[in-house]
C-alpha cells in the first residue's frame, strides 16, 4: 500500500517532498480554474485542497450540469482535460472526482444529439490513460481452487471441486486503443472511466460518490429530478450494457456496503440500487438481476439490528 493511501494511518502525514515538486503545477492549475469559476477560495492552494474544497466542487458540478456544457470549446472541459494530463497524481484525482457527473451527464445527453466533444475528450483521455497503464491487457483474477491449501484453509482430501485447473475470471477485458468515440464503444469507454474511478474510490470525497448514486438512479429510471423546478422529466431510456453496469455495480457496492460513515451516501446508494434492480427486472437482464438483488438483500441484513450483536461486550456479571 502506498503511503498516500488513506487506508493507512500514516496517510495523514502527507508526502511533503512530492507535494512541493508538484506545487507549481497545482498552482497554475488553480489559477486556470479561477478564470473559469466565479470564486476560488484563498484556502484552495494545493491539489489536495482542490479535491476536497466543497465550494470549488459545487461550482464545477453546477457548471458541468449547465445545459450547454460539454461542447468541444467548453473551458471547464478543457481544464479537466489539461488537469488530467498533469503529472501530479493528486491533480488526476481531482479530475476523477468529477467522473460520475461527467459520465452521468454525458450518457443522459447522448439522445439529444448535440455536441458533447468536451465530455468525450475527457472520457477518452481517461480511457487512453488506462489503456497505456495496463498495456491493453485484461484484468483478471484466479478463481481459487480449494483443493490447494491457502492462508485461510487446509485442503480437505475428499473435496470435490468444480475445476482443478487454473480458472481465470476476467474483471476487465482487453483494451484496444480508441482515439474517437463511437456509439459501439461508448459503453466500454465510459465503463473504463468508471473502473478508473473505482480504483481510487477510497480517496474520493463523499459528494462525488453521492453524484454517482444520483446518476446511477437517473440511468436506471430515466427520471431526472430537477431541484430548481421541482418537476421531474422523463428522459429516453439509457441502455445499460454489462460493460457499463459491471463497474457501476462495484462502485455502488462500495457506497452501499462499504465502511464509510455517511448516512446520506448509504441512503443515496440504496435508492440507486433499488432503481437498478427494478430496471434489471424490467429488462429481464439476468446478470443485473443477480447482482442487484444480492446487494439489496445484503443491505437489508446490514440494517437489521438483531443480526448485529456486539461480541466484544464484556460480561459484567462474571466474578473476578
Amino acid at each position: 500500500m502506498s503511503s498516500s493511501n488513506p487506508g493507512s494511518p500514516s496517510a495523514t502525514a502527507t508526502s511533503s517532498s512530492s507535494a512541493s515538486s508538484f506545487s507549481s503545477k497545482a498552482h497554475s492549475c488553480i489559477q486556470a480554474l479561477s478564470s473559469i469559476l466565479s470564486t476560488v477560495p484563498s484556502s484552495v492552494s494545493s491539489s489536495s485542497s482542490l479535491l476536497h474544497d466543497p465550494t470549488v466542487s459545487s461550482q464545477i458540478s453546477t457548471l458541468l450540469r449547465d445545459p450547454d456544457s460539454g461542447s468541444g470549446d467548453n473551458n471547464l472541459c478543457r481544464w479537466l482535460y489539461d488537469t488530467f494530463h498533469s503529472p501530479d497524481p493528486e491533480l488526476k484525482l481531482v479530475v476523477l472526482r468529477f467522473v460520475p457527473i461527467v459520465a452521468g451527464i454525458y450518457l443522459s445527453r447522448i439522445a439529444l444529439r448535440k455536441s458533447l466533444a468536451g465530455f468525450e475528450a475527457i472520457l477518452l483521455a481517461l480511457y487512453a490513460h488506462e489503456t497505456t497503464a495496463r498495456d491493453g491487457q485484461p484484468i483478471s483474477v484466479n478463481v481459487p481452487d480449494l483443493t490447494q491449501p491457502s492462508i485461510y484453509h487446509e485442503a480437505k482430501s475428499s473435496v470435490k471441486t468444480q475445476a482443478t485447473e487454473l480458472n481465470l475470471a476476467v474483471i476487465s477485458p482487453t483494451l484496444e486503443p480508441h482515439g474517437t468515440m463511437r456509439s459501439s464503444r461508448r459503453a466500454r469507454i465510459v465503463g473504463v472511466a468508471l473502473e478508473l474511478y473505482y480504483s481510487k474510490i477510497s480517496q474520493m470525497p463523499v459528494s462525488s460518490k453521492l453524484e454517482f448514486c444520483e446518476f446511477c438512479d437517473i440511468w436506471a429510471t430515466g427520471i431526472q429530478n430537477k431541484p430548481s423546478s421541482s418537476s421531474s422529466s422523463k428522459q429516453k431510456t439509457i441502455l445499460l450494457p454489462w460493460e457499463l453496469l459491471q463497474p457501476s455495480l462495484r462502485i455502488l457496492g462500495h457506497c452501499l456496503l462499504g465502511a464509510h460513515k455517511s448516512k446520506k451516501l448509504y441512503e443515496a446508494a440504496s435508492i440507486a440500487t433499488k432503481s437498478l434492480y427494478e430496471r434489471s427486472l424490467h429488462d429481464i437482464d439476468a446478470k443485473a438481476i443477480l447482482a442487484t438483488s444480492s446487494l439489496l438483500r445484503l443491505e437489508k441484513m446490514a440494517l437489521d439490528p438483531k443480526l448485529n450483536v456486539d461480541h466484544t461486550e464484556i460480561d459484567m456479571s462474571l466474578a473476578l
Binding site: N5, Y152, A169, R182, L239, L281, M301, A319
Partner: protein
C-alpha cells in the same frame, strides 16, 4: 493470586503457585462485593486517588490491579471519562514485556508440569495478566465510547501484541478453561478491526483481520466464520486495495492476488464450511458470493453453489429461477430454459405462478425460433395470471411483446400455410397490444418493424425502424441492418447504402463484418459486381486479422467463442456469394475456387452445394446441377432455393412428364416460403407451357410484385 507487577506493593510475601487458587479468588471477589455498597456511593464525590486507596486497602491489590478494577467499575457505570483517567494511570507499555513473559512462562509450565520447572515469583500470575488485558480492553472501549477511535485501536492493538508475542504460531488449544485471558484476547480480536474501521483506516482493519485469521487462536468456529465473512465483505466493498504482506505470500499460486481474489477465496472457504456442516447456511455468504462471482463473470460457478444449497433454503421454483439466471448469464440459454420449463410444469401447478421466471422463460424462448412454442406457453401463462391481478401492467406488456416475437418465429418455422398466416396475425396483434403500454421499449419497436417487414408491410416496417434507430443511442448494428434491408426491399438501394455507410462508421467490429457483407449483397443487387468483390475482399481480410489478433490473446479467445462462430458464418457466406458472382459472369474457374473454399469451411452447408449446383447449371451441366441440388436437399430437406432450382432444371430439361414433378417442387417451396418470387415465376412458366395463359399471367404478376418488395436477403 495478586502478585507483583510493578513491585509497588506486596501483601503476599510468596506469590501463590497456582493462580486459580479458589481461596484467594473467593476472597477477592467477596471482598469486592461486600464492600461495593460502601464505596459506590463515595465514588461520585471522592477523588479517584482516594477511591483507589480504598480499593487497594480493601483488596490488597497492587497499584495496577487496583486501577484496573476501579476503571472497570467506572466503565460499568458509564463514566468513560473517569474510567479512562483511571486506566491512564497504568503503565501499559512498560508492562507489555512482563505480561508476555508471564503468559509464556505460565502456559509452558502447564504443559511441562512433570519436569517441575520453577517459575520465579516475580512472574505475574495469569490472572493478573487477564486483569490487565481487561483493563486495556476497557480502556480501548472507553476511548471508543468517547469517539477517540484511533487511540482506541492503538490501545486494543497492545492486547494482540502481547498475546501474539507469547504465541508466535497461534494457540492451538485453550490456555486454561477458567482463565479470562483468552476471553479478553478474543474480544480484542473482534474489537480491533471495528475500531480501525470507525477510525477510517480500512487498510489497518483488513491487516488485523488477516492477522487474526491466518493463525489458530482457539476461537469458536462460528466466530472465525463471522470474521472471515467480515473480511470478505471489507475486501469486496472497501475500495481499498491492500496487498498481502510478504510473509503471507508463501503459498505460491494459492496466494490470493488482490482484494477480489482474496474475498472469493474466503467466501468459497465459508461455503465449504457450510457444505461440511461446520457452520449453518448463511444467506449473507451466498449474497456476497453472488455479488463477487457476478462482477467477475463466474456465473456457472455461482450456479453450482445455488445447486449445492440444501432443500428448504430456496423455494423450489425460486431455485430454478436463480439457476436459470446463472446459466443464462453464463450463455447457456438451453440449460436455463430447461430449468424454467420446470417452473411452468405440472409440479408447480398448485403454486402461485412465478411471474419473473415465466417472463424470463418467454424472453429466452423468443431468442431462438425452435423454442417459439414454449415461448408462447410462457407468455400466455403470464398473461393469464394478469387476469388475476397478480401482474403489473409492465410485465403484462412484456409478455405480449415476447408472445408477438414467438408467434412470429413460430410462423417462420411453420410448414403449414394456414397455420403460418394465423401465427403471423397473432404476432402483429400481440406486438401491437404490447405497444399500447410500452411505446418506449426499443426491443418492441424493433420487433414491430421486423415482423411488419417479414409480412411485407414495408411502410409500417420502415416507420418503426426509423423510430427504433432514433430511440437507441447505443450501438445497434441490427437496427441499421434492418433499415437497410427494408430500403432494399423498397428498391431504394442508394438510401440503403447511405445507411450502411453511417452504420459502418459507428459499428463495433462484429457488427461491422455483418454490415460489410450486407453492403456487398446490396452492390450485387445493384449489379456492381466489381465493387462487391472488393467489399468481400475487405471483409475476408478483416476476418483474418481479427482471428489472428484473437489467437495471440488467450483470454479474449476464451471469452469470444460466439465471435468466432459469427466470423465463420460470414466467411462462408462471403465465399458462397463470390462464387455466385463469378458464376453469373461466366468465370467458371474463379467460381469453382470459391465454391471449394466454401465447402472446405463447411461441407454440410446446403448453400455451398446449391451454389455449386448453380455453377453447373450455368455451364449447362444439368445432371450435375441436379445432383448438387439434391445433395443440398439431403442436408436440409426444406432448403427452398434448391427446391426451386431443382424445379427450374427439370423445367429446362423440358420433357412434358417432368412438369408435374417440377410443379410439385414449386408448390412445396411456396408452402415453405410463400414470398419466394422465383417459385412463382417458374410456376408461371409451367402454366405457360401448359397453355393456361390467364393463370400464367397471374403467377407472373405475383412474382413481379413479390420481387419488387423483396429485400436483398431475408429479414432478420
Amino acid at each position: 493470586m495478586l502478585c507483583a507487577c510493578s513491585g509497588e506493593q506486596f501483601k503476599f510475601e510468596d506469590a501463590p503457585q497456582s493462580p486459580e487458587s479458589l481461596a484467594t479468588r473467593d476472597f477477592s471477589a467477596s471482598g469486592l462485593s461486600s464492600r461495593t455498597g460502601d464505596w459506590e456511593s463515595k465514588l461520585d464525590d471522592v477523588q479517584v486517588d482516594e477511591a483507589e486507596s480504598t480499593v487497594k486497602e480493601a483488596l490488597s491489590l497492587n497499584y495496577e490491579e487496583a486501577r484496573a478494577l476501579l476503571g472497570r467499575l467506572e466503565y460499568q457505570r458509564g463514566n468513560f471519562d473517569a474510567a479512562l483517567q483511571v486506566f491512564q494511570g497504568i503503565d501499559i507499555k512498560g508492562l507489555k514485556p512482563s505480561m508476555t513473559r508471564a503468559i509464556v512462562e505460565r502456559t509452558r509450565q502447564r504443559k511441562l508440569r512433570s519436569k517441575g520447572d520453577i517459575i520465579p515469583p516475580s512472574v505475574m500470575s495469569l490472572h493478573s495478566v487477564s486483569l490487565l488485558l481487561e483493563a486495556i480492553l476497557l480502556k480501548a472501549k472507553s476511548l471508543d465510547e468517547l469517539g477517540h477511535f484511533r487511540d482506541a485501536a492503538k490501545e486494543c492493538n497492545i492486547i494482540l501484541d502481547v498475546v501474539e508475542a507469547a504465541f508466535p504460531n497461534g494457540m492451538h488449544e485453550g490456555i486454561a478453561e477458567d482463565c479470562k485471558l483468552q476471553e479478553m484476547f478474543h474480544k480484542a480480536l473482534e474489537l480491533l478491526p471495528r475500531l480501525w474501521k470507525k477510525a477510517g483506516f480500512l487498510g489497518e482493519a483488513i491487516t488485523v483481520y488477516r492477522r487474526v485469521l491466518v493463525k489458530p487462536w482457539n476461537l469458536d468456529p462460528l466466530r472465525v466464520a463471522s470474521l472471515q465473512k467480515d473480511l470478505a465483505a471489507n475486501l469486496l466493498y472497501g475500495g481499498v486495495e491492500t496487498s498481502l504482506p510478504p510473509h503471507l505470500q508463501v503459498w505460491g499460486s494459492a496466494t490470493p492476488n488482490g482484494n477480489m481474489e482474496e474475498a472469493i477465496l474466503l467466501l468459497l472457504v465459508l461455503m465449504q464450511k457450510v457444505a461440511y456442516g461446520e457452520i449453518k447456511w448463511d444467506s449473507d455468504i451466498m449474497d456476497h458470493l453472488t455479488f463477487a462471482l457476478t462482477v467477475t463473470g463466474q456465473f456457472e460457478l455461482l450456479g453450482s453453489y445455488v445447486e449445492q444449497a440444501l432443500p428448504g433454503i430456496y423455494e423450489r421454483a425460486n431455485r430454478w429461477y436463480l439457476l436459470a439466471l446463472c446459466y443464462a448469464a453464463a450463455g447457456q440459454n438451453e440449460v436455463a430454459l430447461n430449468l424454467l420449463k420446470k417452473v411452468s410444469g405440472q409440479s408447480e401447478a398448485k403454486h402461485k405462478p412465478h411471474i419473473p421466471a415465466l417472463l424470463f422463460g418467454a424472453k429466452l424462448s423468443s431468442q431462438d425460433p425452435k423454442h417459439a412454442h414454449y415461448g408462447i406457453t410462457f407468455a400466455c401463462n403470464v398473461i393469464d395470471s394478469a387476469a388475476d391481478d397478480q401482474v403489473n401492467e409492465h410485465f403484462k406488456s412484456q409478455a405480449h411483446k415476447f408472445l408477438g416475437v414467438c408467434y412470429g418465429n413460430a410462423a417462420r418455422i411453420s410448414i403449414s400455410d394456414a397455420e403460418r398466416s394465423v401465427f403471423q396475425k397473432e404476432s402483429l396483434a400481440s406486438l401491437n397490444s404490447a405497444a399500447l403500454n410500452m411505446k418506449e421499449d426499443p426491443e418492441l419497436i424493433f420487433n414491430l418493424s421486423l415482423e411488419n417487414a417479414v409480412q411485407r408491410n414495408l411502410d409500417v416496417a420502415f416507420e418503426n425502424a426509423m423510430v427504433y434507430s432514433n430511440m437507441v443511442t447505443e450501438d445497434s448494428g441490427r437496427g441499421w441492418r434492418l433499415l437497410a434491408l427494408i430500403l432494399s426491399a423498397d428498391r431504394r438501394f442508394k438510401d440503403a447504402e447511405t445507411i450502411l455507410e453511417v452504420a459502418l462508421d459507428e459499428a463495433g467490429s462484429l457488427d461491422q463484418l455483418e454490415l460489410l457483407r450486407l453492403r456487398a449483397v446490396l452492390q450485387i443487387a445493384e449489379e456492381r459486381p466489381k465493387q462487391a468483390i472488393e467489399t468481400y475482399r475487405i471483409l475476408l481480410s478483416l476476418i483474418k486479422t481479427q482471428r489472428e489478433s484473437r489467437s495471440n490473446n488467450f483470454e479474449s479467445a476464451k471469452s469470444s467463442d460466439s465471435e468466432g462462430v459469427t466470423e465463420r458464418v460470414l466467411e462462408l457466406a462471403a465465399w458462397q456469394d463470390l462464387a455466385t458472382i463469378y458464376t453469373k459472369f461466366g468465370s467458371w474457374l474463379d467460381a469453382e475456387i470459391c465454391v471449394n473454399k466454401a465447402k472446405s469451411i463447411e461441407l454440410y452447408s446446403p448453400k455451398s452445394w446449391h451454389t455449386s449446383g448453380l455453377l453447373f447449371e450455368a455451364q449447362s451441366l444439368h445432371k450435375e446441377a441436379l445432383v448438387s441440388f439434391s445433395i443440398a436437399l439431403s442436408i436440409e430437406p426444406d432448403y427452398v432455393p434448391s427446391i426451386v432450382s431443382t424445379a427450374a432444371v427439370l423445367l429446362h430439361l423440358g420433357s412434358q412428364s417432368s412438369l408435374p414433378i417440377a410443379r410439385s417442387f414449386l408448390m412445396n417451396a411456396l408452402r415453405l416460403d410463400p414470398t419466394n418470387h422465383e417459385a412463382w415465376m417458374n410456376l408461371g412458366l409451367i402454366a405457360k407451357l401448359e397453355g393456361s395463359l390467364q393463370q400464367a399471367a397471374d403467377f407472373f404478376q405475383a412474382a413481379y410484385e413479390l420481387k419488387m418488395s423483396a429485400p436483398v436477403e431475408a429479414f432478420k
